[in-house]
Symmetry: C3
Subunit: 317 residues, 3 copies
Amino acid sequence: MNNPQLNKNGELQHLLTTEGLPAPILRAILDRAASFVSTAEGNEIKKVPLLHGKAVFNIFFENSTRTRTTFEIAAKRLSADVVNLNIGSSSTSKGETLLDTVDNLCAMHADMFVVRHSQSGAAHLIARHVAPEIHVINAGDGRHAHPTQALLDMFTIRHYKKEFHNLRVAIVGDILHSRVARSQIHALSTLGVPEIRVIAPKTLLPTLVEHLGVQVYHDMEEGLRDVDVVMMLRLQNERMQGGLLPSAQEYFKYYGLTQDKLALAKPDAIVMHPGPMNRGVEIDSSVADGSHSVILPQVTFGIAVRMAVMSMLAGAK
Amino acid sequence: MNNPQLNKNGELQHLLTTEGLPAPILRAILDRAASFVSTAEGNEIKKVPLLHGKAVFNIFFENSTRTRTTFEIAAKRLSADVVNLNIGSSSTSKGETLLDTVDNLCAMHADMFVVRHSQSGAAHLIARHVAPEIHVINAGDGRHAHPTQALLDMFTIRHYKKEFHNLRVAIVGDILHSRVARSQIHALSTLGVPEIRVIAPKTLLPTLVEHLGVQVYHDMEEGLRDVDVVMMLRLQNERMQGGLLPSAQEYFKYYGLTQDKLALAKPDAIVMHPGPMNRGVEIDSSVADGSHSVILPQVTFGIAVRMAVMSMLAGAK
Amino acid sequence: MNNPQLNKNGELQHLLTTEGLPAPILRAILDRAASFVSTAEGNEIKKVPLLHGKAVFNIFFENSTRTRTTFEIAAKRLSADVVNLNIGSSSTSKGETLLDTVDNLCAMHADMFVVRHSQSGAAHLIARHVAPEIHVINAGDGRHAHPTQALLDMFTIRHYKKEFHNLRVAIVGDILHSRVARSQIHALSTLGVPEIRVIAPKTLLPTLVEHLGVQVYHDMEEGLRDVDVVMMLRLQNERMQGGLLPSAQEYFKYYGLTQDKLALAKPDAIVMHPGPMNRGVEIDSSVADGSHSVILPQVTFGIAVRMAVMSMLAGAK
């Protein structure tokens, strides 16, 4: 079995990437998440004892209060004990290797690691290293993957659109540097979305992006035409300084989502964003706060999806 | 109804300031706090399940380990799940607006925000913005208000003096920059204290302070004469550098509370301080540790008062 | 009674140092820790309610994510409420004294303090100051003591060697600056280890170290001959810069633990290290990961030992 995320029975052992994640498992995660979003309004999430007595370690080698908080909340809703480790200030700065740090935490009886790291592949490295009763969730590694973000995006799309097989989806923005975009494209493909478009300037597209099975647009107005779902990406400020872009104003003019551009999409199109938003850079405030926006439901669904993943992993033993 | 702290039934919806807080609500908070201070010694506080399953977010835009800890302890005694967010290191530094950050936390199903911010009005802004099932506690905003500090001070005064209507109270120190002093004056007035004095050098008094219904003294020996309660304020070190004061030694000479000056107050006067103390600057050690000092009971009562406020808000739905 | 760790009934009141800790108490801690390491594999630790409703404050004046985490995990396994305070960023920086900070935390109803401080004696100072119902655990003070580390080391030795009275133990490395070494030597002596060796260059040995009842070796090959237990110490990088050592390479040549040197010890010798390890400085990777190494079991036992100490203290009232 060469899929490092699955155990020998084909069950989810770690969540590292949406690439190669089988459709039945992907759908099982979404179904279980739906069970945590229980009330009629679709926004009440109750505390359950599924991870009582389990220790979840949030090990963040890269600071991200928002992402860490969503995992912390999800774990506490599952009644786990949560320990937050900002490893930047910890033993690695004392010359300890990453795997020695991990071994030590395992010896403290961690049941699950939620890992954020600036290096692509860090979560995989840890997953390959730990004992079979320990589970790893990738909370973002370099430019590689951010699978729980992609899963909550899939949950959101299914919530509003019901099916995937008839959708036209556009991903807009800095595809090149985005682990979110990669994870989204893999998940959308697996779930059977027939048309995935990426819209970006050439400087923000990976070479050979077409090999991922997407259609490339450099003109946003063309790219948005008749889409069901618009998935915006965050523009990192450092891109502006790196010479890849002329200015935030220029970027907004060509690739910022405005009411006018959105009008080219289907009348019932939904607008998504992984946050945090740069209002006036990649998205206009009137769109972010408008009737097509499902940006805040994404956050709510993110808690449910993370609860689903955590409870599937901790129950897989 | 233009009091943003009360819902349309006149119940406490948020705790933002003691200004305009009706006396019955103020007394209800003190009564409920008393129920958490249960034993004969008056210092045992038991864990209760009143906020079980609720998520309390401590969002501190301004660092204050001590204040954050008191709210964290209070919330945990109520069995809430507590998430601490140091927003200085979070998304706001990534260009996200304050209200976007708040919206995101709401979408994660926060039930209560405890907010500390350097800008006056931040907690009000958040309270006006959030949905009705979410509650906001102001843990200090700029120079404006620090209502839980004032409430624990009222609890302390009532504990030792039983009644408010016959008291002479002096507030001493840097009134100008003190959100604590503002909140104390409003609460003391509402509870019917007939004589509130402020004692400070002219440079540390707001213009028109008399409009708050207080008597102004520049001479501490005059101001302390026959008072029942002495409420000291912390002198921020930066005031010394700002040219408002000559030196710590001079300040102590004229406005530091010594045994000699305290002897001018009533024989059973109590001495209070919100902490952290600058011993030898605004207060002499012999007074801080002396028989009139109720500074440490203030801290204990602070936990009970914060539990009272949190449980009233979360039960008000 | 002049042992500040024991109450007047001779029971454990604080854990400050292994120096002077009576053998029956030391063994009682190890026995209780064994009860937390329950399964056949000796590595499952269950959650128990022994400290439910108790508040444990980790007050770390010196940053140590690893040590703080072990205490946090231990306290949460005992169902305590845990509050982490990084006091470096707190009120002490606002001019508050150490004991004022402690008094404030006591007034918030701390039941237990876990204290790490760069000054020797800090935990003792706090222990002498607090009320009898409050317990202090020294999590490392200056060069003085680190008793829970020494206790987990004793637990590990007993786990693998069953008895102490027939052992030859070598402690290797920077004895001079090591609070761990001091605490180990006292514990080993009390438990009846007949031969304790220290192996170090002269510059890393305290003067009059022989007075602790140890045999001094400067030659590692001599010192390791026929020992049952090798306890390595971490070499702090700053020692290299301080002129006490020529270089990491030279140190490793003479005092690094390699397979060749370890072959001089008994065939069933165990190798210990308090972590975090400097691979290639004080220990070779092949030894750290080899069959004699019990370095990761030490970490596991560390949780059990800390649970044992915490539950004995909180039950001692």
